[in-house]
């Protein structure tokens, strides 16, 4: 155990392990089944959504129950321009425009909402954020000419004019011929690259200056203010960034599913995202990935075993995690290590091992 720990503490070993995992994720889709690739793609989509929620909830400590609203708006912002423009003169440019809008518009909406909402705290803020999906669904239905309302809109089978002048049906997210990939592999790489970039940005965000400010705001707003950190400003910032991550997840949702409807915005899914965040591990990057995995895999596994018990199984998972791993699945290695040490009579305890998940962020402020 000690030998392993020493090995693990060496930088080259960590980089090597990271490289191995990156290579596995790169090579995996080439040999895995279509459904495996589609599943991992969806996990990445919801991991990004959960990551956004984690920035505002896990790292800054502000409850947001309306995160799905930004995912849904992002999905619409992506799918509407792609439907309108793809196959025209700008071709693939439509996807780039969709991606940009899916981040910018939810960001702006999030900023406007945050400017007003984060003046409230705790439950009051939570109540305000509930309003987002509740008004989002009727608004999406009201503008059913562009949103497709309850019936939704799809980007599969769009018309495009090929070089021979004929009109064909095509899918903007099918693999281009030069790539030599199948559609599911192409979508996997597209989603993975964007998700990896977003996770990289979040990693540095929460460990840098802003991350420390978020942590202090979460821990104690008065202390933050006394240190010259405006809680209001940083809460608005966190909320806005979370909205942009939600919007980006909405774009990825379109890449993975190529369909959205007003049902995507509904409040229940927002709660499922919050649950995924808590089960995965609030305030943890790894927890976001695990949260995305839980969100996608639990219904998929219950479908294979007993499709009528999806909700029951979800409930059991939540309760088990809350009772046994209050820090979420991401805290499992730490909890196991602590158990292991306790079983050995408390030898070999060095101070860095006693880091509790709850103060993971605040420790960064000791720099």
């Amino acid at each position: 155990m000690n030998g392993l720990r020493n090995l693990v503490d060496r930088p080259w070993a960590r980089w090597a392990l990271g490289a191995v995992i990156a290579i596995i994720l790169l090579v995996l889709p080439l040999s895995a089944t279509e459904f495996t690739n589609q599943t991992i793609t969806r996990i990445a989509v919801f991991a990004v959504a959960v990551l956004g929620l984690n920035i505002v909830m896990g790292y800054t400590g502000q409850v947001s129950l309306g995160h799905i609203f930004f995912v849904g708006v992002g999905a619409y912002c992506a799918i509407i321009p792609i439907r309108a423009l793809w196959g025209g003169s700008i071709a693939e440019g439509a996807i780039v425009i969709g991606f940009a809008l899916a981040i910018i518009i939810p960001g702006i909406v999030g900023l406007i909402v945050a400017l007003a909402a984060v003046r409230l705290r705790g439950l009051a803020l939570a109540m305000i954020t509930i309003a987002l999906p509740i008004i989002g669904v009727p608004i999406a239905k009201r503008f059913s000419d562009i949103t497709g309302g309850n019936e939704g809109v799809s980007v599969r089978r769009l018309d495009y004019v090929a070089s021979d002048g004929q009109t064909y049906k095509g899918n903007p997210f099918s693999a281009p011929a030069w790539s030599g990939l199948a559609d599911d592999q192409w979508q996997y790489y597209l989603v993975m690259i964007i998700a990896a970039a977003l996770f990289g940005l979040a990693f540095f965000l929460v460990r840098g200056k802003y991350g420390r400010a978020f942590a202090i705001v979460k821990a104690n707003e008065s202390v933050a203010a006394s240190m010259g950190i405006s809680p209001y400003r940083y809460k608005v910032l966190a909320f806005t960034i979370a909205s942009m991550y939600g919007g980006a997840a909405g774009f990825l949702y379109i890449v993975a599913l190529q369909y959205t409807s007003s049902e995507t915005l509904s409040f229940g899914h927002s709660i499922e995202l919050v649950i995924a965040t808590i089960v995965g591990g609030a305030g943890s990057i790894v927890g976001s990935i695990l949260g995305g995995a839980v969100y996608v895999l639990v219904p998929q596994i219950t479908n294979a075993i007993s499709p009528e018990s999806t909700t029951v199984v979800q409930g059991i998972v939540i309760l088990l995690v809350l009772f046994l791993l209050p820090g979420g699945l991401a805290s499992l290695p730490r909890v196991l290590a602590r158990r292991f040490r306790r079983a050995r009579g408390g030898h070999n305890v060095d101070s860095s091992n006693s880091t509790e998940p709850a103060i993971e962020n605040t420790e960064n402020t000791k720099h």
Binding site: R157, H269, V286, L290, P299, S306, P307, T310, T311
Partner: protein, 428 residues
């Protein structure tokens, strides 16, 4: 110390990612060997589609099995499970290619969430399901319609009144089961016009394709009639928790007809109670999925005299009505539900969808009997060539050959008589 902590977190990050990736790889199934789909000894016949072998056919049903729509959702699977349970026990169904196959049903829970139904579609393809059938819900079925077309996967006898599934669009192997919302709304409109009396109509509709479809069908039917006036139209969102405000406002218009295009069961019950509590006695129109005596009217305390008249458009007998249970077909139906539906409480009569699902299974059986090759194309061809098929519980024969129409087309207007519904031609 900080370096170590950060490092350990990075390590944990990498390790978890790896574990998840490996776990999923482990779950992944091997690709089916090319051409190894069972039909190998067919000798010159077309290569079998996935999901069909010489002795079984796998049918997938993605529908809401949990959540707010779970009641009707489970029913959409249960009717077929019961019907094919009986057929399988008899040894199977003889297909058009001469082979006898049993029907295996795989159910998938979509929680009325379009994203989950797309996932379920992908899972069905991965599980080598032959065709998807009988699923409930407009957005959930719409979500994978184009994906199914890309895959050449049949999405048939869907339980939504959305007409797009019956449009016979090129490249889609899809077909609706139940009459469109417009047809039902229209049936009531025509009967109201036939009454010849002046009527003032208050309309309450769900703000989606469902409510709008009913209302549109009704409006088209009363168009040009001077006697009938729509005095007020109000809408609501399916997520609403109470429609009391709307009911009160509609009652205040003095209308004598309430067109109630509400699909949410608890809301429909509460509405009827509110209408009665206000002392309002309108002629009431209910859509087929929220008109069941056992599921809606009895819980709401409605008797034959509560309102001037309770009408519903229907296309199949109600399992809750006493004559149903006394008929031969009805007895067989209840016995099959009792025997083959397991895992949750189901009496087969709380929601009409169980009977509809049974009907869908009968239509599927007819298609299976006529499909000459073990392929999806041949199945779809057979399914859309049925005419004059008599089923146990529908009011008219099944005809799937009419372009733009779902499998069940004969809609009758029915009046509630205290126990069940009886067919009528005219309102009043």
């Amino acid at each position: 110390m900080i370096t170590t902590a950060t490092g350990r977190r990075m390590l944990a990050f990498a390790a978890s990612a790896g574990v998840v990736a490996l776990a999923i790889t482990g779950c992944g199934r091997a690709e089916p060997p090319a051409g190894g789909n069972g039909g190998g000894n067919g000798g010159g016949a077309a290569e079998a589609s996935p999901g069909i072998t010489d002795d079984t056919l796998t049918l997938g049903i993605t529908t809401p099995l949990t959540g707010a729509t779970a009641g009707p959702g489970n029913c959409t699977a249960d009717g077929a499970i019961a019907y094919f349970g009986v057929r399988n026990a008899e040894g199977g169904i003889e297909f058009g290619d001469g082979k006898t196959r049993t029907i295996e049903i795989k159910t998938y829970d979509d929680e009325y969430n379009p994203e989950k139904s797309v996932t379920n579609f992908q899972q069905m393809v991965s599980d080598e399901v032959f065709a998807g059938a009988l699923g409930l819900g407009t957005p959930t079925n719409r979500a994978w319609r184009d994906a199914a077309a890309e895959e050449g996967f049949p999405q048939v006898l869907v339980m939504t009144g959305d007409p797009v599934f019956s449009s016979r669009e090129d490249g889609y192997l899809d077909l609706g089961l139940v009459p469109s919302y417009q047809q039902e709304g229209g049936a009531f409109g025509e009967a109201l016009v036939a009454d010849g009396q002046p009527h003032k109509v208050a309309v309450l509709f769900q703000n989606d394709d469902y409510g709008k479809g009913y209302t549109q069908g009704f409006k088209d039917a009363i168009e040009g009639s001077d006697d009938i006036e729509i005095v007020k139209e109000l809408s609501y969102e399916p997520t609403a928790s109470s429609l009391e405000g709307q009911i009160t406002e509609l009652q205040a218009t003095g209308a004598d007809v309430l067109f109630h295009a509400v699909s949410v069961t608890p809301l429909a019950i509460a509405d009827l109670q509110k209408v009665a509590a206000l002392g309002w006695k309108p002629i009431l129109f209910l859509p087929s999925n929220t008109a069941s005596p056992g599921g809606i009217l009895t819980p709401a305390g409605v008797t034959a005299d509560t309102f001037t008249g309770v009408y519903a458009a229907g296309f199949a007998q109600a399992a809750a009505a006493p004559p149903f249970a006394e008929s031969e077909a009805g007895k067989a139906y209840f016995a099959a539900i009792e025997q083959y539906v397991t895992g949750h409480e189901q009496d087969g009569k709380a929601f009409p969808h169980c009977v509809w699902s049974w009907t869908g299974a009968q239509i599927l059986e007819e298609a299976f009997k006529n499909m000459e090759e073990p392929t999806r194309e041949s199945f779809y061809e057979a399914l859309t060539s049925i005419s004059g098929l008599e089923t146990d519980f529908t009011f008219g024969p099944i005809d799937t050959t009419v372009e733009g129409s779902p499998a069940v087309q004969v809609v009758e207007l029915q009046k509630f008589n205290g126990n069940g519904y009886a067919n009528v031609q005219v309102v009043g």
